[in-house]
């Protein structure tokens, strides 16, 4: 008998009187001790499936039909009260966002102990002893001290470990991990996934891993369930699904996942490519950039002596984990942040001392594309207004000319003209990012700074946007400064790379050189942490 069997599960949401079918007749099984990965893009119903299993659907969601058999018992229609007895005890949950999943006003130890107390496992002394054991088990150093600390005193990786400790506290037979590492840096992600793996081998716990990252799924799971639009597209053993996908969609996913299908490095640009020869001045030169912030009265150097230069018409990537200073560097290049010292030269002009009107004129030459297009587009404006805004600000055309130019820009980013009178919230994530790119291109800038511009997007959309950026660069000779934490994306888009850590550049060079012959220890660690699968699997 399977540990978990989901049979023809259908779940729907009700919003404003409309019924949205989120999950349609999904069936799969999880055997004891097995890792099953549910992969899919946003909106595919993978999280809804996981929530339905543990009975934690949002209040407007409901199970329409189907069975959820846990050890042969159908729990799909159990009332909430009865489900509580199995949550934690038989099914553990590792939530997505460690920052929001812990109670900020309770100590870490109390929160792990809560699971034990709710299920009446031992008196106070046993509980606190078990908590220390659990913290030690998930690899937290100094567990006695940590147990007395509050969530904000721990790093993201440690918080996720605490959540894992709470999930395994009662030795459940099944752990549901809903995007357990999406909010973490790659090196931390790797250690957390290793930990889940270890616990599985130690306790024989089965894991249902919900993830959008096919690379992570391929590396960690025994079997894959590929979901799309609420249905299962394909399922089977990991190797079989990856090497011989039967569904068209799976093929597309495998092809677009940069970590599974590494594209070749970019060829170094030369004059023959149409790019300017090497003797023209570089588009961006950063020299000894320093940015100090005051944190609690003490100066803190977010960026500490960063220098790089980007030849015209090429892409330079700044990679690093959170807190490495890459975004601050990017913001100094576009001059949303003033450097404490050092200089940034764009097309021969030092931008650091610019003020007022001169600074405004700089915006015609440098544009920034944000990570989250939902936040960088005014929710009350139509797409046409958003794209026309730079033209209005710089008085580049009259009304008719602007409308013409906007249509042309929308065309250039491969959006249909029908989006013009829509608002951002009526567009998908990928479409929004195209609008943001169209706005950035409106003033014909020389330099485009892309701050994690594809990180929030699904892989297939990500691949499309990267192709779009590549095409625009070839067509208009744009220079990109590409900020990213995702090495597999950087590998395919950039010509040169600088690896940042704690405000400094630890290594830089051509992409191929950095990826194939890393000189610095940290670069090697970063590269090793990228989820990848044995070559024969994807061959």
């Amino acid at each position: 008998m399977s540990l978990l069997e989901v049979r023809d599960l259908s779940v729907s949401y009700r919003t404003r009187g409309r019924v949205v079918e989120a999950v349609r007749e999904v069936s799969f099984t999880v055997e004891p001790g097995e890792v099953v990965a549910v992969v899919g893009e946003s909106g595919s119903g993978k999280s809804t499936t996981a929530q339905a299993i543990i009975g934690l659907l949002p209040t407007n969601g409901s199970i329409d039909s189907g069975q959820i058999l846990l050890g042969g018992t159908d729990i799909a229609r159990w009332p909430d009260k009865r489900l509580r007895s199995i949550r934690g005890a038989q099914i553990g949950l590792i939530p997505q966002d460690p920052a929001n999943s812990l109670n900020p006003v309770k100590t870490v130890g109390a929160q792990i102990g809560e699971v034990l107390r709710i299920h009446r496992r031992g008196d106070r002394r046993t509980v606190s002893r078990t908590v220390i054991e659990l913290l030690t088990r998930v690899g937290i150093s100094d567990p006695e001290l940590r147990a007395r600390q509050y969530p904000h005193e721990l790093s993201g990786g440690m918080r996720q470990r605490v959540l894992i400790a709470a999930a395994i506290a009662l030795r459940p037979r099944l752990i549901i991990a809903d995007e357990p590492t999406s909010a973490l840096d790659v090196t931390v992600q790797r250690r957390v996934l290793d930990l889940i793996d270890d616990l599985r081998t130690e306790f024989g716990t089965a894991v249902l891993l919900v993830t959008h990252d096919l690379g992570v799924a391929a590396q960690r799971a025994d079997r894959l369930v590929v979901m799309r639009d609420g249905r299962v597209e394909e399922q089977g053993p990991t190797a079989a699904v990856l090497t011989g996908p039967t569904a068209e969609y799976t093929r597309l996913l495998v092809r677009d996942a940069p970590s599974l299908t590494p594209r070749g490095f970019r060829r170094p640009r030369s004059a023959a490519d149409g790019a300017p020869a090497g003797d023209s001045p570089p588009a961006i030169v950063a020299r000894d950039l320093v940015k100090e912030f005051r944190v609690g009265g003490r100066p803190f150097r977010a960026v500490d002596g960063v220098s790089f230069h980007v030849p015209r018409g090429t892409t330079h990537a700044l990679v690093g984990e959170s807190g490495s200073g890459k975004t601050t560097t990017a913001r100094m290049v576009v001059r949303f942040t003033t450097p404490t010292s050092g200089s940034v030269t764009i097309g021969g002009v030092d931008v650091a001392p610019l003020r007022g009107e001169q600074l405004r004129q700089l915006r015609r030459r440098v544009q920034l594309v944000y990570q989250n297009p939902a936040g960088s587009l005014d929710p009350r404006q139509s797409v046409a207004d958003i794209v026309a805004e730079p033209l209005r600000n710089f008085r580049l055309a009259d009304r008719a000319g602007r409308a013409r130019r906007v249509r042309e820009l929308i065309d250039r980013v491969a959006l249909p003209q029908t989006v013009l009178d829509r608002r951002p919230r009526e567009l998908s994530g990928g479409q929004r990012q195209r609008v943001a790119i169209a706005r950035a291109l409106a003033v014909d800038p020389e330099v485009l700074v892309l701050d994690e511009a594809v990180s929030a997007l699904d892989v297939t959309v990500q691949a499309q946007i990267l192709d779009l950026l590549d095409g625009l660069q070839r067509e208009f000779g744009l220079t990109y400064l590409f900020i990213s934490h995702d090495l597999s994306v950087v590998r395919q888009i950039s010509d040169t790379v600088s690896v940042m850590r704690k405000g400094r550049i630890v290594e830089s060079g051509s992409t191929q050189q950095v990826f194939e012959a890393p000189r610095h220890e940290y670069t090697r660690e970063l590269l090793a942490a990228v989820p990848s699968v044995p070559v024969e699997l994807v061959a």
Binding site: R14, R16, G17, G55, L56, L57, T59, G61, S62, I63, D64, S65, R77, W78, P79, D80, K81, V334, F336, R360, Q361, R363, R364, Q367, L368, Y370, N372, G375, S376, L377, D378, P379, R380, E389, P390, N393, F394, A436, R439, A442, V443
Partner: protein
């Protein structure tokens, strides 16, 4: 509509019936708008609702209880109270409109400037606002009236001045929130000048809750203006004004309850209606 557990425990998670409230506008909200609509029509065309003269009464019919002939009864001078309420709505409503307009424009402007410029200016403006908030609204209004002198419009302005602080504080908090949004920075990045960005992005995205507050303040202003008229600072008798009506009925409270109660009920309904409408504006904005 699928199975419900036999135990009978209704898990909210599983409940699959759609509350009718989600599809149709709530009854309360419809009623609230209806109340406001009726009062506005009263103010615009009082003649359609009553043929009695609101100022000159018929002494023979004094102090009659509410009935078919006089819906709200008559007062000591034989004037129809309903007619006085209908005719008084113009004065009370226009007073409230002026009060809200003063509070809304001055308050929002202060909040917008303080929130977007920041620094010393923000500190100074907000500390002044703190002081204004510390003084009871009625006292503040009375102070302003003493400076301006009594009269319907002056009372309205005084009440408006009293609400500036609340508007300023709310507008500032919204502006500070919106100011941090990526799209505002992106607007500067698109070459927007300070005032352009404020006008085009910050203001439209922060007015939602301010408009909701304006609706509440509309009700509060009617109440405050009535209070001040009751105290004798606003409209002069024999003009019909809601607060004044209630004040005039005070002497007959023991014998003729309708003189204070029925105009009071009208004021109450209008205030409740504005509060309900405000709540719906606020919710739409989220």
């Amino acid at each position: 509509m699928t199975t419900r557990s036999a135990v009978g425990t209704v898990a909210p998670v599983r409940s699959s019936r759609v509350p009718a409230a989600l599809r149709r506008p709530p009854v309360g909200l419809v009623l609230a708008w209806l109340v406001i609509a009726v009062v506005v029509v009263w103010a615009v065309a009082p003649g359609l609702f009553t043929e009695y003269d609101p100022v000159n009464g018929v002494p023979a019919q004094k102090l009659q209880a509410p009935g078919a002939q006089h819906l709200f009864g008559t007062d000591a001078l034989g004037r129809d109270v309903f007619a006085r309420v209908v005719h008084g709505s113009a004065r009370s409503l226009s007073g409230a409109v002026v009060a809200v307009a003063v509070g809304l424009t001055v308050g929002t402007l202060l909040g917008l400037v303080a929130g977007s410029v920041g620094g010393v200016l923000d500190e100074v403006v907000m500390r002044v606002v703190d002081v204004l908030l510390a003084v009871p609204g009625l006292l503040l209004a009375l102070t302003v009236i003493i400076l301006l002198g009594p009269g319907t419009i002056n009372v309205a302005i005084a009440v408006g001045v009293g609400s500036i602080a609340a508007f300023a504080r709310l507008a500032r908090s919204e502006v500070v929130r919106v100011r941090r949004a990526d799209y505002v920075e992106a607007a500067f990045g698109s070459g927007g000048r300070f005032t352009t960005v404020l006008w085009r992005h910050v203001l439209p995205n922060s007015v939602g809750p301010v408009v909701a507050l304006a609706a509440v303040q509309f009700g509060a202003a009617i109440l405050a203006i009535s209070t001040l008229s009751f105290l004798g600072y606003g409209a002069k008798p024999p003009e019909p004004e809601w607060g004044l009506l209630i004040a005039e009925g005070r002497n007959y409270l023991a014998t003729s309850w309708w003189l204070t109660t029925l105009p009071g009920v009208v004021v109450m309904l209008v205030v409740l209606a504005t509060s309900r409408i405000s709540r719906s504006i606020n919710r739409e904005d989220r």
